[in-house]
């Protein structure tokens, strides 16, 4: 218990979480603080490139084995299956229409790469190693949940033209993440020594600015759409990451991942998408209310994972492995 409290308070008082809180508070008190669109996009490109590159360098140093293939497969299955659980939970806890419940469920099968980055930063600050190639698992987990969400909504396709699968599967985030992963893998530690001045040293500071922006977006969403978040929906937004997180940790444990790896896979399974899936849902299920899934993923689940969830998943992972 003391471990949990110590880890949670250390995490809560980290510059990353406090930057998010600043953004959230600024938006809630209607400050005119804002991050320009181009800066936010630039920061997101930087973070994706840096995290992908680091993962690739890790693989170059440790080598590729069957465990990676198994983990990719597990990630795919988790992404496809978690929306089923989320949908069932939504039907029990809320009175959402079928199409809204399916759209929300899809977000909880997919992942939030910023939550992944926050978890990896916490692990690094604790000196806990994790399998760097889990970034590839994160990329694999982006899309399968969308297919399950469509199936849950009773759709086999989206309208006359169908879903733009090529654009979704090759969206900018996935291409950048996997491309940087490949560059890191090819160039290895030598490549890293050439670019670490940009990709390693300023990383945490820039992550703080990005999270400041995420706080602003979450705060604006909460301010404008708080009336949509009924108690059952809020409960779902807090319960689902815990359930998904435990399933992710147990899956990683079955695979034989390290303590850090379990915490990361748990975090991935616990996180909810707010970039790839919302855009896909607007095309595939336009009848679903975007304010519900965006506010829930960004305004409830993301802050919950950032402030408490990640520390909790790490604690469970430590307990399981005895570290």
């Amino acid at each position: 218990m003391n471990d949990m409290l110590g880890l949670a308070s250390q995490n809560l008082l980290s510059p990353i979480v406090l930057s998010f809180v600043l953004g959230l508070a600024a938006a809630l008190v209607r400050s005119d603080l804002s991050i320009p669109e181009a800066v936010a996009k630039g920061l997101s490109i930087y973070l994706l490139f840096a995290i992908g590159f680091k993962g690739g360098v890790e693989v170059a140093a440790t080598g590729l084995d069957a465990l990676i293939v198994m983990a990719l497969l597990v990630g795919f299955v988790l992404s496809a299956a978690l929306p089923l659980l989320a949908y069932a939970l939504l039907r029990i806890l809320t009175r959402l229409e079928r199409v809204d419940a399916a759209a929300v469920a899809g977000h909880y099968g997919s992942i939030s790469i910023v939550t992944f980055v926050a978890a990896s930063t916490l692990l690094q600050s604790q000196g806990i190693h994790f399998e760097g190639w889990l970034v590839a698992v994160a990329a694999v987990m982006e899309v399968p949940a969308i297919v399950t969400a469509l199936w849950l909504a009773g759709r086999s396709s989206a309208g006359r033209e169908g879903l733009p699968w090529r654009e979704i599967s090759l969206n900018g985030s996935i291409v950048l993440l996997m491309g940087a992963f490949a560059i890191g893998w090819i160039t290895g530690p030598t490549g890293m020594s050439e670019v670490e001045g940009l990709l390693v040293l300023p990383f945490k500071g820039l992550l703080c600015l990005f999270l400041l922006d995420m706080g602003l977006i979450a705060g604006r969403g909460l301010r404008n759409s708080a009336h949509l978040l009924k108690p059952g929906l809020i409960l779902f937004g807090l319960l689902m990451p815990l359930i998904g997180g435990m399933i992710g940790i147990l899956s990683g444990w079955a695979l034989g991942l390290s303590t850090g790896g379990l915490a990361i896979l748990g975090t991935l399974a616990a996180s909810a998408s707010y970039i790839a899936v919302p855009a896909a849902m607007r095309v595939a299920l336009p009848e679903a209310n975007p304010a519900i899934y965006l506010t829930l993923a960004l305004g409830i689940t993301f802050p919950f994972n950032l402030a408490f969830g990640i520390s909790f998943y790490l604690l469970v992972a430590r307990w399981l492995t005895g570290d």
Partner: protein, 103 residues
Amino acid sequence: MQTHHAKRIEIIIETPALRTLRRALERAGVKGYSILPVMGGRGRSGSWSREGEVGIASSMVTVLCLVTPERADSVLEAVFEVVERQIGIVTVSDVEVVRQERF
């Protein structure tokens, strides 16, 4: 100067649906159109702003096109097929153009 009647069709639509709309316009024989970003606004789903958005899900764009009055109905039908399921606004206005052959 000699001017000619034309219809100006303005479509405000969610960015994720832009690709589908562009295809529909091109299939309907629209020779050209312009796309403008929308900074923010308020609608039935609440307020939104372009500032700081990390994804395109809640952003919107305006598509402007000019067509001859004879072609306007078929273009509007094509546009409506896309817009009817999405968040969006379609307006049509009468305008004068100088170079009729371009529309």
